[in-house]
Symmetry: C2
Subunit: 458 residues, 2 copies
């Protein structure tokens, strides 16, 4: 068959072969168990939300990336042809699409909390691991469907939650055996104070979005952009110099002194000092204060944090989060302060892959391979095999009599450690042969004595 | 806030609260582990497929139920307004939707096998547990998004696979502790032979679709419909009477005798006799031959089977499957006989719920609740709590100092069995109080001696 005739996945969307699923499940299991150990409970929301619920929540760029779902049946008759003619494609789309695909797990969470407020106990700690969809231009490492792994706590503004989040993030990477990640921590109110000090009052938005470009364009470029936007860079330069090479605690003290002003209260520094003095020794993470961390234009209002992969792997953020004070406000439920973290499964997979950190045992998905010589023997063997299965062993029975070499070749491809072989002689003697496919050693075992202990000492 | 202002899920789509997710995960875990024990490996496919890949595969009715995804950006300009004007709504939709939502897991499997044929070992045994979407009119128990749990083996026509599938289905229900389900088994070639015998050659399609209505309309109605379509019901009445009350083996013998004709070979009866004589004693299922089982117009070509819930629960099929000889043929890959099973998660959930078969321990999602009196004590406690967490215990720390009654009320709502309480006195004595929230008993424990063994004997 010619390649070009092969059916394939849509651009930007992926199949996962067993090898991939097993690696991804391994990561998700580590994250999920750590979420649970910190008291988070699982929820799931539908893949589709009402279109109006999503649009307007992610900025103009975000709105364009929301996948809309075409109305079924007669409902497409409402197509707004006037909008189409005028080139107002978004309005045209809205006229024939009542539903849209989940773009992240945060807006659905806000909707969920408001909708089910009477069924939940607050502070409500939930985790959610589900795919999201974005109509982004597909490119290397960027997909239109990808998995998000989020935990959020809603309904308390206690700084203790920040502390637990940091400890939980550390436990996740400890669980993945991944050393050398950096957790950068900042506070939106610190950035707001710096923005004010730079004599560009009310330009905090510009300040944040400019600072957010730091990773991409570098420091000099950021300073130029700020100057162009009317900022006085003197204070920024002073801060940058004064904090250079200082410890986290010292940086906080210096910075608080530098930017103190009548309109800022001390809360952000209280928060940050609390965190850095109480977080204790980390197992896996390097936690640093970074006043340049901005986290774009997200809904964050307090602490913000971002996890970077080890420096040896050239990848950006592999997770991020922060505190938001008004997530559910847009749906009419005020005063629900929240804090959340989102792990990027795809990027963590790349990091573990590059550093060769997947445990080899996860790739043993089948414990035992059963060679097939004839159907009569095989049906006689099945009860013994099913007894192993009931005790939790995973057994692949080759379904037809093929050449032994072909059958064992398959066992090899599937990375199966043991094989069970029954030839005529064994059959007559009510025995079978157990073979260790890694060492090649084998032995005969009476069928009535067959169990996993006997197999695994072969 | 007024109810009508609350945001909500789209019609036919559901949120799952922690209680729901935990129950669903319990069922999926049982199914998944049984799939794995029978040698199936996990794969995942994208939520969206190319629209053309899906359309035309599910019949006319199915095509109408496929959700289409609106093209992004400029691509909606290609809207076929002529089609809209003529009321050809499907053609109009196709002109602005290149992608569509997964409608089942079977067509994506066929696409997957053909696309990745060089990366797979055959017979390829895969399982897949992912949601599917259908633009069906929402009604009680029918949703537009629902989970399918499928296992298929592709690339071998061995009847041994049928036998293993039956044993696997039995193991699933044994694992769920659900007794009294019935597995009905039939063979498409038996139905074809009966259709021929009824002097309605080439009307097998009508025969199958009519028979498929049996559950809904009853036997008399089916006979009337068959007569109207030109069938001679004499042979059908004869079969029905002759098989009444007979054992599976006897039914097969009688039926083979009744419908033997020159154009039918004995294969279906060989297959069915093999299964009924080799399946052994079931742990949970009642397996019966049922010549009236038709399984609609699916792609099946050989054995077909369907699982019914226990009679005490008035629910139809909770799972079904069968053999198909040409799944990948439509994508140009011939000769890949396959066999598959699909479990209906939602209906199994209803059955277990109705029969109260969920193990109570799955609803303990958090092991320990930590009462909060003041922040200083709490931060001193955290290292001890985190040690419990590292050892796998799930701990909810109340984030602020609230009234004890309020805090313990939350522990109660979350069904948490133990609480840890530290007041001023304990704090000074480096102790804490462990409280069993079910019995009310409590004891003081030195912090340095705190571990799960000490907690759970309280």
């Amino acid at each position: 068959m010619h390649m070009s005739n092969k059916p394939n996945t849509p651009k930007g969307m992926r199949d996962f072969l067993p090898h991939d699923v097993i690696r991804r499940n391994y990561i998700m299991d580590v994250i999920k168990t750590r979420f649970e150990r910190f008291g988070f409970l699982p929820i799931e929301t539908p893949s589709m939300e009402r279109r109006n619920l999503l649009l307007g929540k992610y900025g103009e760029e975000g709105d364009r990336l929301v996948f809309k779902v075409l109305n079924s049946g007669e409902k497409v008759k409402k197509a707004d042809l006037d909008a189409l003619e005028k080139g107002e494609l978004s309005r045209f789309g809205n006229s024939i699409a009542e539903k849209a695909m989940r773009y992240d797990l945060t807006v659905p969470l806000a909707r969920f909390v408001v909708q089910h407020q009477n069924e939940l106990s607050f502070p409500f700690k939930r985790y959610q691991m589900q795919p999201v969809w974005r109509a982004d231009r597909p490119q290397h490492g960027r997909f239109q469907e990808f998995m998000q792994c989020d935990a959020d706590s809603i309904g308390s503004d206690s700084i203790l939650l920040e502390l637990e989040f940091i400890q939980m993030i550390d436990e996740v990477f400890f669980g993945l055996n991944l050393q050398g990640c950096t957790l950068r921590v900042n506070h939106r109110k610190v950035l707001e104070a710096i923005s004010r000090k730079s004599r560009a009052e009310k330009q905090t938005t510009t300040f944040l979005t400019t600072l957010d470009k730091l990773d991409k364009v570098g420091w000099d470029q950021v300073l130029q952009l700020l100057a162009k936007a009317g900022f006085d860079n003197q204070i920024i330069n002073t801060i940058q110099e004064a904090l250079q090479g200082k410890s986290n605690a010292d940086q906080l003290e210096i910075l608080q002194h530098l930017i103190a002003d009548e309109s800022s209260n001390s809360t952000p520094f209280d928060d940050l000092n609390f965190l850095f003095s109480n977080m204790g020794k980390m197992s896996s993470l390097d936690v640093v204060f970074d006043w340049t961390l901005a986290r774009g234009l997200d809904y964050y209002t307090g602490t913000i944090f971002e996890i970077s992969a080890p420096k040896s792997v050239s990848l950006g953020s592999i997770g991020a989060g922060g505190r938001y004070d008004n997530l559910t406000g847009v749906f009419g439920m005020k005063g629900m302060s929240g804090i959340g973290i989102s792990f990027g499964l795809d990027r963590i997979e790349l990091v573990l892959s590059e550093l060769d950190l997947f445990p080899s045992e996860i790739h043993t998905s089948i414990d035992l391979f059963v060679v097939h010589f004839n159907m009569e023997m095989m049906t006689a063997l099945l009860p013994y095999i099913n007894e192993l299965r009931r005790r939790g062993k995973r057994v692949y029975v080759y379904p037809t009599a093929a050449r032994l070499k072909k059958q064992l070749g398959m066992a090899n491809q599937l990375n199966i450690p043991y094989a069970l072989i029954m030839g005529e002689d064994e059959w007559k003697g009510e025995k079978c042969i157990v073979k260790n496919l890694n060492t090649g050693s084998q032995k005969a075992v009476q069928l009535k004595n067959l169990n996993w202990d006997v197999i695994q000492v072969c």
